[in-house]
């Protein structure tokens, strides 16, 4: 929780890059929301609005070689990693030009060229697979790292335990990143999790573990850079718990009744996006015209991707016989 005194600090370029990734996530999220609301997309949508700092900061340190395994709430993780938006949109629209030809949908988006290896809808299951990718990275003698994203609720399932133990034993280049948004579906963190800080569980695996303010890019930057360096240098995994909040509830349409009075409003007041934007400007890391141009560019990219996705053809029905195995199914 305390940062090492020699913690690396982000320069203006890094901060601007992190902001760009956040903005891309948020603008894309906004477009998805409005498209669903217009009835032009049908899909269960697990927005991560409010959590942008986490994948944006992490992705700042990643290249296309580095890989992620993420979850149903992971569109932000892909967008942060600069996955192209066109095939993303075609996929969530269930079209043939989607990353997965419309077969996977939003909960199973995959895009190996940018390192998006697995998106899972099963709580906890990103972690065991991330280990395997990290094992491969080690066998390859590469310096690539693997990020396993998972929620706070997921820290209570068996796969978490088995994965952290194995990763530590095998010194795998994997970082376990938990955006702790305080809720697992409708269950408050403390009603599902027996420890006050998930990072404490790292002790049980002889692994470094930290709780970071996941809405603070500076804190995130320091911890992530350390964890990534550890992983790349073959020193093994790190558990990062990043505190945050999800503004749109569990799934789009959530009534948020399980939240405390005023809790959501208070969280929204601390929306990291405008706060970070203002601070970037205030501290002179970037100027307004640059940010405006950035936003314009992103919005154009998102609009183009949306139009592309919605204009893409429906997949042919015989797609259900393909990709079950390498060889097409009979009958």
């Amino acid at each position: 929780m305390t940062q090492p005194s020699n913690a690396p600090q982000p320069d203006s370029a890094a901060l601007t890059d992190i902001f760009r990734r956040m903005l891309r996530i948020e603008r894309n999220d906004d477009a998805i929301l409005s498209t669903i609301r217009k009835g032009r997309l049908q899909m269960p949508y697990y927005s991560a609005r409010g959590q942008e700092v986490i994948p944006a900061t992490i992705s700042h340190f990643l290249t296309d070689e580095d890989q992620i395994c993420t979850i149903y709430r992971g569109i932000q993780d892909m967008v942060a990693k600069d996955m192209p938006l066109k095939p993303l949109w075609a996929e969530i629209a269930g079209r043939v030009d989607g990353t997965c030809k419309g077969k996977g949908g939003p909960m199973h988006l995959t895009h190996p060229p940018t390192g998006v290896m697995v998106t899972t809808g099963v709580v906890g299951s990103s972690m065991p697979i991330a280990n395997g990718l990290a094992w491969a990275a080690k066998l390859d003698g590469s310096r690539r790292v693997v990020i396993a994203y998972f929620g706070d609720g997921a820290s209570n399932i068996g796969a978490f335990h088995e994965s952290l133990n194995l990763a530590s034993l095998w010194k795998l280049p994997v970082i376990f990143v938990c955006p702790n948004n305080g809720f697992a579906e409708h269950t408050r963190f403390e009603n599902g999790t027996s420890v006050d800080r998930i990072s404490k569980r790292a002790i049980g695996y002889g692994m470094p573990g930290f709780t970071v303010d996941g809405n603070d890019p500076w804190e995130m930057y320091a911890q992530v850079s350390t964890a990534i360096a550890r992983a790349r240098d073959g020193e093994g995994p790190t558990l990062l718990e990043c505190t945050t909040f999800r503004f749109l509830g569990h799934v789009l349409g959530d009534d948020n009744k399980y939240m405390a009075e005023g809790e959501l409003a208070a969280a929204r007041e601390r929306d990291p996006l405008p706060l970070f934007r203002q601070r970037l400007l205030d501290e002179g890391h970037v100027d307004e015209p640059t940010l405006a141009a950035m936003q314009e560019k992103i919005e154009a990219e998102v609009a183009e991707a949306r139009d592309f996705g919605l204009a893409s053809e429906l997949p042919p029905v015989d797609e259900i016989r393909r990709d079950v195995f390498a060889q097409e199914m009979m009958a």
């Binding site: 909960m107 709580v123 016989r321």
Partner: protein
């Protein structure tokens, strides 16, 4: 052995509800009747909204937080807690949100819940009910919609129940809870919101007994769960095609009602089994194999099976629709069976 459905006009002392509401009613009734009944699962208590679908709404408020407990996301721990409490004389109803997530708890279900009575030589028993939801149609894609009743039906020591309408949801859930052995109670996307009149005093409906939805003489169709709903949609077209169809809702998959099915096919000479699960090595194979063996020489045509193709549930609506056995496919196969 089997009951025939009555018509749809609202009788006195009934309430219109969908299957979800019927589940809720059954749980309320069971908990009120027997204080050994417990309910546990993710988000199932009222502070968490009474379940994401609301199936368990009101229970914790009424029966208290000790008997109705929201759990962490820990399916092994959920089933384990249910088993342990059952060994000590309770009747826990555990919810596993979706059937695909039962795989996470498969050791607890298959190696423990289903086997402890036998392995202990009858000294202990595990009267738990596992409620779980599944089915394609909601575009939840590959990991949220599989019908795995065939797996559970292959397992010794656990009963498998898959109702299709609110009356059966209520009556069969009550029976599962009462049953001295573990039951898996499968709620399905395609049947969850279909409303019906349910008698206010609806009590348990026996496990292992099929329901004849419609009598007929040309052809027997055996279905369950969402597929009964789809078969009912096919009935008008079948009638129009001049086919007298006997539609059987199996309701309990294991143990299944061989007598009712065999009696029906003995009469009609033709059988179509249609389920939402994957066809290949699916539960329909047992029924087809049994009927083919028992009624060899009696059958007028080969037993036909309809089920999902052997692929994960696809996301795109157009593919998902192609994945699910549709009413028109049943009509086509039924006509083909008539030769």
């Amino acid at each position: 052995m089997s009951t025939t459905t009555t018509s749809a006009a609202k009788p006195a002392g009934t309430s219109k509800m969908n299957s979800l509401q019927a589940v809720n009613a059954a749980l309320h009734q069971a908990m009120a009747a027997d204080d050994k009944v417990l309910v546990l699962g993710e988000d199932i208590a009222d502070p968490e909204g009474g379940g994401v679908t609301g199936a368990t709404a009101g229970l914790s408020t009424k029966f208290g937080g000790e008997r109705v407990r929201s759990t962490p996301i820990s399916e092994q721990a959920i089933i384990g807690a249910a088993i342990g409490a059952a060994l000590a004389g309770y009747k826990p109803v555990a919810e596993i949100m979706l059937m695909n997530f039962t795989t996470v708890a498969m050791d607890m279900i298959f190696n423990h819940a289903a086997k402890l009575r036998f392995m202990s030589g009858g000294q202990t028993s595990v009267p738990i009910t596992i409620r779980t939801l599944t089915g394609a149609g909601w575009q939840t894609a590959g990991q949220h919609a599989d019908h795995l009743e065939g797996w559970y039906a292959h397992a010794a020591g656990i009963k498998v129940v898959a109702p299709s309408n609110p009356v059966d949801y209520k009556g069969l859930l009550l029976s599962c809870i009462d049953d001295p052995d573990p039951c898996i109670f499968i709620e399905s996307a395609g049947s969850l919101f279909v409303p019906a009149e349910v008698p206010d005093d609806q009590g348990p409906i026996p496990l292992g007994k099929a329901r004849i939805v419609q009598e007929g003489s040309d052809l027997t169709i055996v279905t369950w769960s969402s597929q009964t709903v789809r078969a009912q949609m096919a009935l008008p077209a079948l009638a129009e095609a001049g086919l007298s169809v006997e539609l059987i809702d199996l309701r309990t998959i294991s143990p299944w009602d061989r007598e009712t099915v065999l009696a029906s096919v003995r009469k009609t000479g033709r059988l179509l089994v249609a389920h939402e699960a994957v066809r290949d090595f699916g539960p329909g194979a047992e029924i087809a194999a049994t009927v083919s063996e028992e009624l060899f020489g009696v059958l007028k045509a080969p037993v036909r099976r309809l089920g999902a193709p052997k692929c994960p549930v696809p996301f795109a609506k157009v593919l998902e629709d192609a994945y699910i056995v549709q009413p028109d496919q049943m009509v086509a196969v039924a006509q083909a069976l008539m030769g």
